[in-house]
Amino acid sequence: MFIINCPYCGKREQSEFKAGGEAHIVRPKQPTELSDDQWAEYLFMRKNIKGIQFERWVHTHGCRKWFNVVRDTSNDVIKAVYKMGEKPPTK
C-alpha cells in the first residue's frame, strides 16, 4: 500500500486514491477527422512500462482532484507528483 503525496492534501494512504492509467494522453481535438486506426490508437493503446511510468491518479476519498504521478513500476517508488497541466519533471 503506497503512501501518495497528493499535491493538494499531502501524504495519504493509497486506499483514498484511484489510479487512472497512463498520463499525458491528450484527447484528440478533432476525433471525426481520425481514421479508425488513429482513433483506436488513442482509445485502446497504452504502454505498460517496467520502470519509470507517468500515470494519473485521483484523490477520490479526499479532494477529488486529478493529478500526475511518476512511479517506478519495478519497485513502486513514487519519484514525483505534479498537478494536471504542469510539465512533467525531466529528471
Binding site: 500500500m1 503506497f2 479508425d36 482513433w39 519497485n75 513502486d76
Partner: protein, 1001 residues
Amino acid sequence: MTKNLRVKTSKFIDETYKISFKFNGTTYYGYKGDTLASALLANNIHLVGRSFKYHRPRGIMTAGSEEPNAIVQLHNNTSRTEPNVRATEIEIYEGLEASSQNCWPSVNFDIGGINNFLSPVLPAGFYYKTFMWPANFWEKYEYFIRKSAGLGKSPTLPDPDIYEHRYIHCDVLIIGAGISGIMAAKTAARNGFKTLLVDEKPYLGGSTIYQNSEHFKINNQISSSWLEKEINEIKKIENLEIKTRTSVAAYHGYNFLLAKENLTDHIPLEQRNNKTRQRLLKIRAKKVITATGSLERPLIFDNNDRPGILLSSALEKYANLFGVACGEKNILFTNNDSAYETAISLYQKGINIEAIIDNREEIDSKLIKEIERNNIKIYKGYTVVDTSGYKRISKISIMQLSKDGQKVIGSKKSISCDCLGISGGWTPAVHLFTQSGGKLKFRDEDQVFIPDKYPLNQISIGSCNGDFTLDEILSNIHKTLKEFLNIKETDYENLEVYSSFNKSKRNIWLLPSDKLIGKTKPFVDYQNDATAKDIKLALREGFRSIEHVKRYTTTGMGTDQGKLGNMHALGIISETSGSKMGELGTTTFRPPYTPLTFGTIVGRNVGEYFDVFRKTPIHDWHIENKAEFENVGQWKRAWYYPKDGENMHDAVQRESKAARDSAGILDASTLGKIDIQGTDASEFLNRVYTNAWSKLAIGKCRYGLMLNEDGMVYDDGVTTRLDENHYIMTTTTGGAATVLGKLEDYLQTEWPELDVYLTSVTDHYATVSVCGPNSKKIVSQVIPDLDFSDENFPHMSFKNAKISNIKCRVMRISFTGEHSYEINIQANYGKSVWEKCMEVGKEFNITPYGTETMHLLRAEKGFIIVGQDTDATMTPIDLQMDWIVSKKKYDFIGKRSLYRSDTIREDRKQLVGLLTENPNEVLEEGAQIVADIKKTPIEMLGHVTSSYYSPNLKKSIALGVVKGGKNMMGKKLVIPMENKQINVTVADPVFLDKENKRLNA
C-alpha cells in the same frame, strides 16, 4: 507405549501447573508452558498424522511455525473447531481436544495408507495425466478426488469468537524477538523512536534464550543469561511496545505490514467468551528491522519422513525449553556443526545419544572435541541411506560417502534408534524480505539465499541476513543499527563474544543411495508427499522453470508453503538440469507467511456490518409498511410491499395495476443527483451527452444518454435546466459515484478551460415520485399554490414550489409512461412529504410501489435500464435509440466510436421486444435465444434481458438482445430451456401506449 520422557526441569515449564488435554480421544497430561507437540513427545507420542497423498504415518518434525506434518484439528464438530493447526505452535490449555487429520478410520489404521503401496503408479502429475479423458467423466472423478483430498475439516457452525482490526503507526518495527531483535529494539527505543517489537512465539529471546552452553558466551556470561538481562531491561522501556504471539503475515510496499495477534488461543474455551480472539494489526512503520531468524534444513535421503525423525534443532529445543526427550535412543545426522550443539544440550540433560552421522570427513571444532571426549561415536564421511520402522523409526542404515559425494561406497551398517535428529544447515527466513520487494542473492560458500537489494527504509539483521554464528551477529549489529537508525552510539560497541561454532558444511542436496532413485522415497515436501524422484520426473518431462516444477509436483504448496524443502527442490533441479542455483531464482514468496483465520481477515465486518448500506430518508416508512428490500449499489431500496401474505408476483401485479389505473408512489431518493453550475455548463452537457443541450429552455427537463469514449452506453437520466448556468443531472442509482468521477476526470484533465463546477447532492434531497392518471389530483393538493395546468406545467418541465414554506423542486417527468411528478425536497422533509401524499392520495387508492414494479412499468414502455438491458457492449444504435444521438454536434464523448468498423456492423446484438407464443409463459432473464434448434453447434443469437408478466397488457412481455434483431421484426425465434422450448416472436420493444397519450392523460 506410554512413557514419561520428561527429563530435567526447564524454567520455561511450570511443573506445579498440570494440564490435561485429549489427543484422538485419549486424555494426556502436560504442564503450563508446553505446546501440544512438546506434551505429546513427553508422552512418547510421535505419530500424529498421515501424509496428504500416500497417507504415510507422520510425526512431529519441528518445534515451530515451519511444521509440515504435525497439523491437527482442534475441537472437532464444535463451533470453535479449527483445521490445520500446527501442534508445534498451539499452547496446551485445560480441556484442549485435538485430533489427527487426513486419516480414516484412525491415525493408527488408515485405509488411505494403501496409496503408499500404489505409489509407483501415483507419480507427479498423476491426476493431470489420468483424469484427462474422457472429458465428460471429470464430474464423476471429481467426486472421489474431492472426497479424498483436503486436510482438515472447515467449521460448519457460526464462529462464536470476536475478532478485530487495529492500526498501528510506529517509527521502528522489529520483526522477531531473538537476540538480534532484542538488541535492535533496545537500541531503537533508547534513542527515542516509537518502537514495536513482535514475535510469533509466547516468549522472547528466540533460540538463544534456551542456549545453555559454555560454548557460547557474551561478555563472559552464558549467552542466555546475558540475553535475559537485556530482555528484563527492554520490558521497562516506555516507548517500546512488545507483542508476543504475534506473527507478521504480510509485508507490503511502503512498510505496510499485516500481523495476526493471538489473544485467547492459549486459554481454556470457557474463559474465552466476550474476549477478542485474534486481532489483525495493520502496521505502518517508518522503518522496519527484520530479524526473523533462520530455519534448519532437513536432509534428503530414502524414507526420511518416518515418525521419530525431527530436525536436530527441534530436539535441542524440546530438551532445553520444554525438558522433553524425543527418544531414548537418539541418533543425530548432520552436514554441519549444529547437530553438535544439539548433542551437547542433550548430553547435559542426560539424554542418551547413540551416534552422530556426519557427511563431512574432516571436521574439527571445540564442539566436536567435547562430544568425542564424552565417548559418543561419530561416523565421519557417512550418510544415512535408509530407515525402517512403520509408525516410528526403529533403525537406520548408513554407508560411507565417496570423495565427490555422488555415491555411497563400502558396506551397509545398521544402527537401531527411536529418534533421528537431522541437520542440513540453515536457511535464512527471507520470506518477509522478499514479499516487501527485496531482491535476493545466492551465497555459494554455504549455499543460501540472502538479502541483497533492500526497498527503502528496511534492513535485515541476524541469521535472516545470513549471519549464522553468534560472533557474526554480534560483531555486525552495532554498525548496522547506527547506520540504519542514523544514531551515534549503541550499547553494543565492545562486546566480547565467544563461540565454538565452526562454519564448515558439506552440502549435498540429494544424498546418494545404494538403490536406484526410482526405488526410493526421499521426501522434499513432507506435507504434499513430493519426493526427489517426482522433481526429477518433472525435469525429464520437460519442465524447466522452478514455478512450473512447483505446480506440477506440488512441492511447496501446502499449509507450510515448503518452508523446509523448497531449497532442496531448487538444489535438485539445479544439479539435475546443470543450471546454477543463483540463476534459477526462487519461487515467489507470497503472503501470508503463516495462515490467517477468516475471522481475523474480516474482523468486525460481519453480519450487518459486512458492508456499508445507505438508507433513504423514507426508509423507516418502508419498514413500518412491511416492504421487502433489494440492494442497489449500497442502497437498500424498497423492492415491493406485500399485503396480506402476498408473494412477490402478486404484490407486483397489484402495484403495477394500481399505478396505471389510478396512482402509484415511489421513493426515488436513491437516484444520483449532480448539481452543475458555471458559465460553460450547457457546453459541458453538450460534450458529455449524445444529444444537444444548448437550446434547452430554463425550466425544462431532458433525457440524456451518456457514452464511454468507446461508444458504449454508460449511464442515463433526466437533467433539468434550473437557470441560465445551473443544471441538475440525475444518474442511475448504482452509477452515481462513477458518473461524477468520470465527469470530474474530463473537466479537470481534458477541458480545464470550461467554467463548470460539479457537486454531488444525492443525499441532500429526498425524491417522491407520484404517477398515474390521478397523480395531478394528488400532487396539486400537496402543493396547492402551484398552477398544475398543462399550459403552465407541461410534461418535461420543472417548477420551484413550496410545501408549508419549505422550498422544493417539482419535475413533471416519467419513467413509467404515466402522467407523473417528482417532488425533490430537502432530505429531512422527505418522509413528511411522502406521508402527505399517502394521506391525500387515500381516496385515489394511492399505492406505494417498489423497484420491481418500477421495472415492470418501464418495460411495458420499452425504457431501458442501463446495466440490465445493456452491458458494456451496447451502443445507442444497438438499443434502437438513434433518435437521441445528435447528428449536428461536432463531438461528444464516444461519438467517433459510433462509426468504427465494428460498431457499424449490421449483425451486432440489438435490443428488441419479445412476445411468447403462449401469453402466460414468462421467460427467464438471461435465457439464450436461438433461431435454429437443430443446427449444431447451436448458434446463440442473444439473450433475454428483462421479462415480466404485464397485468396491464394481460400477457408476458420481454426485452432481449438479438444479433441483427433490428431487421427481425415478426420473426419467430426459440428459447431452449432445460425441459422445453419456448417459441417467441420478435416485437417492437414499446408494448404499451406508443403514442404517449397517457403522459398527458
